[in-house]
Structures are given as C-alpha cells and as structure tokens.
C-alpha cells in the first residue's frame, strides 16, 4: 500500500499527543516539511533535524542550484523563514470508546495515531515530475518569483502537490498558466478542506490544475488559519474559479480577497456558519421506529 505508514515516528514522538499543543505541532510539522530546496539533499530520516535550522543549513543548500529541486536560482540571500512549514494534514486519532493519552497497549490505546504529515519528496521525483520541476524553476526564475513560493513538494499516489504560501499563490498561478513549458490552462477543481479542530492552519484550499497541452495534472495547496482565513482570489487568472471560490467561502468560510462577488452560493444568503467546517454539526433528528429511537448519524457510536 502506498504511503501506508508515513513518517509517524518523528511526529508521534512529540510528547504532546493532544492536538491543542500548537507549538509542538508546528515544530513537528516543520520537521516533516523541510523547504523545497532541501529535499535534494536531506534524506527522509533526518527531516526532523532539518527543521531545527531552517535558515542556516537550508540557505546553504538553497544556493546550491546545481542539484536543485525547485529552488529558484534567485535565492542567494539564504532561505528566509518566508516558506512557512506546511501544516499537518490530518487529525490525531485516539482509540475507541474515548480512550485518551494512556499507555495502554491492549489494543484500544494502540489505535492512537499521530497526525499525518505528507512526506517531502526528494529529487528525482520520478516520471515527468522532474521535467515539470525544472520548467517551473526556470519559469519562476524568469518571473523573479522567489524559491520560497513553494514551501514543499510531495509526490504521493502518482500525484504531485506543491504547498504554496498564499502570498505567492497568484503569481505562481499566472506562471503555471502562461509559461509555454507549463501551460496549466484549466483549473479543474478548487476545493476546500478542513483538517479539524486543533490542527494548526487547518483550512486548506486545494487547486487541481490541468495542462491540456502537456496532459498533466498538478495540485497546489494553500493552508490558512481559521482566525485569518484569507486567500487571494484566483479569478483573475482562472475565471472559472469564481463559483469554486464562492462555494469554498460558503462551506468553509475562507475569504478570497479580490473575488468580484464573494457571496454564498449553495446555502441561503442569510445562513449562519459554514457547514463543512468540522466544528459545524451535521445535524439531523433522531428517527423513531417501532418504539426504538435511532440517533442522527453524527451522534451514533463511532467505530473508526
């Protein structure tokens, strides 16, 4: 099975299993996500250490553009902290029946798993991904987009994902759309994801781009905090993003700055809340049949 057991070890050893430990999570998240410049050099096992000095060690590697991943050649001033660590993309899970934080190895407690962090990919990525990375690095250099515009590359299930800080999103989209070697003409799908309460930067916007010329698909991912859920709008680049972004605003409450008319689209205009957030209840009423009462789906006992 592909990617069945991602780097659980480093994140799991973070002594604080509670999702509330924001600082601890951020660190482990940073550990999982060395910046884009580093994958060429840092082997998987050492990613935890790489996070310790994101400025120093990676700066040196970043300037080493010979074996670069997506490092733009214009990163001689060292790796700023501008490339924030991509947050964990998964909730911490506990055992069944409300087991929390015990050292129980009887089975139930053993079900605790650490939040999932996608593995940073290392060059060579394989297939056309390397070709894409080269072209993208060149195009970014030509448009003087800093290498920090891509904070991580991960390759899973034969799909490549670029984690992008939001401030570089639009310029990167322009590059991906217009550069002759890239030509991602079609924004196939833009969807929001809420990774759940307690996950740092839990709201993600996921852009599935398709290149009709090269017949390739890539994914861009932007992560934001609930308190600061703002992402620049892609409507200027891809007009088709209009309704996608309205839907994400409607369902997840992410504001797309620069959108021409960011209104609700599926829910009524006067609706309160954003239904697909994880803290928004599914709702539902118990059903009574022959005297027995069946609770609504979100209040039933969970097995998984």
């Amino acid at each position: 099975m592909t990617g069945g057991e991602p780097p659980r070890d480093d994140a799991g050893s973070g002594t604080d299993p509670a999702p509330g430990g924001t600082s601890g999570q951020t660190t482990s998240g940073g550990g999982g996500f060395s910046s884009v410049d580093s994958p060429a050099e840092s082997p998987k096992g050492t990613t935890g250490d790489a996070s310790a000095g994101p400025e120093g060690s990676e700066g040196a590697q970043g300037s080493d553009t010979a074996g670069r991943a997506l490092a733009a050649p214009t990163a001689p001033d060292g790796r700023r902290s501008a490339g924030p660590p991509v947050p964990v993309t998964g909730t911490e899970r506990h055992g069944m029946f409300g087991q929390h934080g015990s050292g129980d190895t009887s089975g139930y407690g053993g079900l605790i798993t650490a939040p999932y962090v996608p593995v940073p990919a290392e060059r060579p990525y394989g297939g056309w991904f390397d070709d894409l990375a080269d072209r993208l690095a060149d195009a970014m250099a030509a448009r003087s987009i800093p290498g920090s515009a891509i904070s991580q590359v991960s390759v899973e299930h034969g799909e490549i994902t670029l984690a992008v800080p939001r401030e570089h999103l639009v310029s990167l989209l322009w590059t991906l759309r217009d550069d002759p070697g890239l030509r991602f003409e079609l924004a196939s799908s833009i969807s929001g994801v809420d990774y759940g309460i307690g996950v740092p930067r839990r709201l993600h916007v996921v852009y599935e781009l398709t290149s009709m010329t090269w017949r390739r698909r890539i994914r861009l991912e932007v992560a934001v905090d609930v308190d600061d859920a703002t992402v620049p709008s892609a409507v200027g680049v891809y007009p088709t993003a209009d309704w996608h972004e309205r839907e994400i605003w409607d369902m997840f409450g992410i504001v797309f700055s620069g959108h021409p008319g960011l209104t609700r689209i599926l829910m009524p205009d006067d609706w309160d809340g954003h239904p697909q957030r994880k803290d928004y209840p599914l709702g539902g009423i118990p059903v009574e049949y022959k005297g027995a009462e069946i609770p609504p789906p979100d209040e039933r006992r969970r097995y998984g």
């Binding site: 099975m1 592909t2 990617g3 069945g4 057991e5 991602p6 993309t89 998964g90 909730t91 899970r93 798993t113 999932y116 996608p118 899973e156 299930h157 034969g158 799909e159 994902t161 003409e185 079609l186 924004a187 196939s188 799908s189 969807s191 929001g192 994801v193 809420d194 990774y195 759940g196 996921v206 599935e208 398709t210 009709m212 017949r215 698909r217 994914r219 891809y238 007009p239 088709t240 209009d242 309704w243 996608h244 839907e247 369902m251 609700r264 689209i265 599926l266 829910m267 009524p268 239904p275 697909q276 599914l282 789906p297 979100d298 097995y303 998984g304």
Partner: protein, 467 residues
C-alpha cells in the same frame, strides 16, 4: 387584488411582480397589449387603473424600462430547480445570472460521517442522471488512496455501466431539451429510449438509478446470467431507433432555427470558464478524458470523439447524438470482453465484502454456506465480517484527485483521508456546476427564448450542481 408595485431606484423604475398581476404591471408600465409595443413617453397607460391612479409613479415613461424577471426555480424549462435572473430590455436579455443551491443536500458533508463504502450510496445521488460515473470516480479515487488495482473484469463492467449511463443521460438531454424548445415528440422518443436503458440497467445491477453497484475494489457482484444477451438486445434496439432522431430532429427546419447560431461560446470563452464536455468539443477542441487521459482501460477500446467547430446549441445536439452511437460502439466491445469470466472484486479480504452473495428465500443476501461457516466454525471470520461491515476499512492518510469524462464533462473526485474508516473530505468536481457558469456568456444579448436553448445545451443536472 394586489397590484404590481413600483419603486424608483437609482437604476430607474423597478416593478415587483408577484404573479397574477402581469397585465396590470404591463399596463402601468405603459405597455399596449393591443399592439404589443411599449407606447410612447408620457402615455398614462391603457389599463383600467393606470390612468385613474393619477400616481406619477405609474406614469409610463417610455421604452427604456428594464424588466428583471425570475425564471425558476420552479420553471419547466430550467432543467430542475435552477433559478435564472434575467434583466430584459424588451425580449432581449441584457444580463443573466443563475442562482443555484435549491437542491443542495449536503452530500459531501454526509459522506464524512459514513464509511468509505457507504459513501458510494451518497455520491451516486449527486448527478442523478449519471450515477455510474459518480460511483466510479469516487471508487477510483478511494482505490488510488488504497493503492489497489481493480480486476480487469470489474473495469469492463464499469465501462459498460458508464457508457450505458452516458446514453441514458444524453437521451434525457435530448428529451428535456427538445421539450423545452417545444419539440414534444423528441421528449417522448427520448424518454422511450431511456426507459430501455434503465431497464437494462435494472437487469444488470438490480436498480434503475442510484445503483451503488460500483464499490471500492471492484463492483458489488458479477453480472447476472443472460446479461450479454440483454446488452446485445439493447444495442439492437438502439441501433434501430437512433435513426429516428436524425429523421425527426437533425434536419428539421424549426429545430435548426431554434439552435443554429444560438448559445455560442467560442473556444476562448470555454477555456477561460473551465468548460469541458460537449460544450468544449462543440467549440473545436477534441478534449475527452477517455482519449486524452485514459482510465479504466479506455485506451484499449476503439471509438471516436466527435468534434464540431460551430460552438452553438445545434453542434452540441449533434455531438450528443453522435456520442450515443460511439457509446454503443464501446458497449459492443465490452460484450466481447465480458464473455470471459473472472473476479469482479479485488482479492483483498481487508477491502472486499467478505461474503459470497446469493439468492435466498428473502432476496439477495449472504449465502447460507457462508453464514454457516462464520457462525459455526470460524470465530475469526465472524469477527472479521463484523468489523468490515460495521466499521469499514481504513484508508491510509493522504489525498487524491481522479477525473473521468462524464456526459457533461470532467467529473472529478477529490478525497482526503485522515487515515480512518471515514473520509475526511469528499469533494465532487461536477461539470454541471462549472459549465453553468457559462450561462451568462451564452445568454446575454440574445432573446429570452434562446436562453432556454442555451441552458438546455449546457445540460446541467441540479443534483450534481448543488450536491
């Protein structure tokens, strides 16, 4: 009786019409019902009240009035609960906007509270005219997350069901589109043939629609005995009847005058708006995921992707008709491949339904031998059965996006797993949702009657648009 009220706004005089007061409003606006023209400035109206009211508000002030009308959400020519807001100047549409969400049922959210297998029964109800596609794209994405390879026979069955569904979906597009343009015989003919398709679907899967037949790892069960004869019979029926559509519609002068040059959306517009499917192909780009990014073994089938360059409603109609022929061609090839038996579910006891299904006295269910074994002989099998059926299987954490070509364009599924037995996020990229954004571009500047033709050629299915 309520009367049409008007208010003065910065945009001019705005009438609020609530139904039943249409004549009144027209007379107050200075519209002469006899001549059918907006009468001149200063005319105080021909209606009984208009002149008598003496209200300056109602004095007709000429033909520069724009009327904003709501078409839908309950209107027979809006393809379901779609609401169009049209700003009219006379009969010309100046601005058009669509309002959706009336059929939002929270399918994506509901999926997060069910197992991965149960998700199939939700997504199949999204675009209710092409359920096989929803199921397949969802299952393909789950399989990608699981790293599974589906048995060949299961893929052939999926292709068969998808092409059958494409035919029935296109038939509904022709039928309802024809009805909306006044070609009622197109409607009766389209639904007659769709009935054949649904009968076959019922024979193959047990249900006419929303079959939930495709499951992660394969399909629910093998096709019944005699399936191949039924499929061949269906193909013969369709082959004999499809020429009727050509005879009835393709060359028909009224049909052509309603469609040719109407709802034009050239390639630039399609690309900007992310349009896929027959609309894109009617603008000249032969983009069909079955050919360009093959899946389910489509690269091994022999079929053509029809393309047109007129980019109008008539071209889309002709493409849909031709695609039905091509789908029949693919179905014929699946029949040959289905002659060979084989497994239809992946050989992985962690994913596949643990029991062999068979027909008992009370219908389809776990076979008696199986029940006997897990109840009497193997405690572990019983536990396994219970766990897999109630808890479901876990999917390793991560995300995946798979797209297939459904009758309306690119149908994508973006699934995120947190590692549990339930999805963290299910998102369907429905082509109807995206393509409907093209409605203003097609409709603005045209007559109101052409809006109907344009919407019919987009062929949105509100279940998929609103999810």
């Amino acid at each position: 009786m309520t009367r049409a009220r008007s208010t003065r706004t910065t945009e001019g005089r705005v009438f609020t019409v609530t139904g039943g007061d249409w004549d009144e409003m027209l007379s107050e606006a200075g519209f002469d019902g006899g001549t059918g023209r907006l009468v001149d400035e200063g005319f105080s109206g021909t209606g009984p009240d208009a002149g008598a009211s003496g209200d300056e508000e109602f004095a007709g002030d000429g033909g520069d009035d724009r009327i904003i009308i709501n078409m839908g959400p309950q209107h027979p020519s809006t393809h379901g609960v779609l609401r169009l807001i049209l700003e009219l100047e006379g009969e010309t549409v100046v601005r058009a906007r669509s309002v959706i969400g009336y059929l939002h049922t929270g399918i994506e959210k509901s999926c997060e509270f069910r197992t991965w297998t149960q998700g199939v029964t939700f997504v199949t109800r999204a675009d209710y005219l092409s359920p096989a596609f929803n199921e397949t794209v969802y299952c393909m994405t789950v399989e990608r997350l699981l790293g599974l390879q589906v048995p060949a026979r299961a893929e052939v069955i999926r292709v068969l069901l998808m092409e059958l569904t494409r035919i029935s979906s296109h038939l509904v597009a022709l039928a309802t589109g024809g009805m909306e343009l006044g070609a009622l015989t197109a409607m009766t003919a389209g639904f007659r043939e769709r009935e054949e398709a649904l009968h076959l679907m019922e024979y193959l899967t047990g249900l006419r629609m929303n079959m939930a037949f495709v499951r992660p790892g394969g399909v629910a069960q093998d096709l019944p005995d005699g399936a191949l004869e039924h499929i061949r019979g269906f193909i013969d029926v369709m082959d004999s009847r499809l020429p009727e559509y050509d005879a009835l519609l393709t060359g028909q002068p009224i049909w052509k005058r309603r469609m040719v040059g109407v709802g034009v959306l050239p390639l630039e517009g399609c690309m900007q708006l992310g349009i896929t499917g027959p609309i894109l192909r009617s603008a000249g780009l032969a983009w069909d995921l079955r050919k360009t990014m093959p899946y389910c073994g489509y690269e091994t089938y022999d079929f053509d992707v029809p393309v047109a360059t007129e980019a109008d409603c008539y071209a889309r109609f002709r493409l849909r008709l031709e695609e039905i022929h091509q789908s029949l061609r693919i179905m014929r090839q699946t029949v040959d491949r289905l002659a060979e038996p084989g497994p239809v579910m992946v050989d992985d006891p962690k994913v596949a339904w643990p029991a062999q299904l068979s027909i008992g006295g009370d219908g389809m269910g776990n076979s008696l031998e199986y029940i006997r074994r897990i109840m009497g002989q193997s405690m572990e099998s019983l536990i396994h059965h219970f766990k897999l059926v109630t808890e479901g299987f876990s999917v390793p954490p991560g995300q995946a996006y798979v797209a297939i070509e459904n009758p309306r364009g690119e149908l994508g599924a973006h699934l995120v797993s947190g590692g549990g037995t339930r999805p963290l996020r299910v998102h369907l990229r429905d082509p109807g949702f995206v393509n409907l954004q093209a409605m203003p571009a097609m409709a603005e500047g045209s007559l109101i009657a052409d809006v109907v033709a344009a919407v019919a050629s987009i062929d949105p299915v509100m279940g998929g648009v609103d999810r």
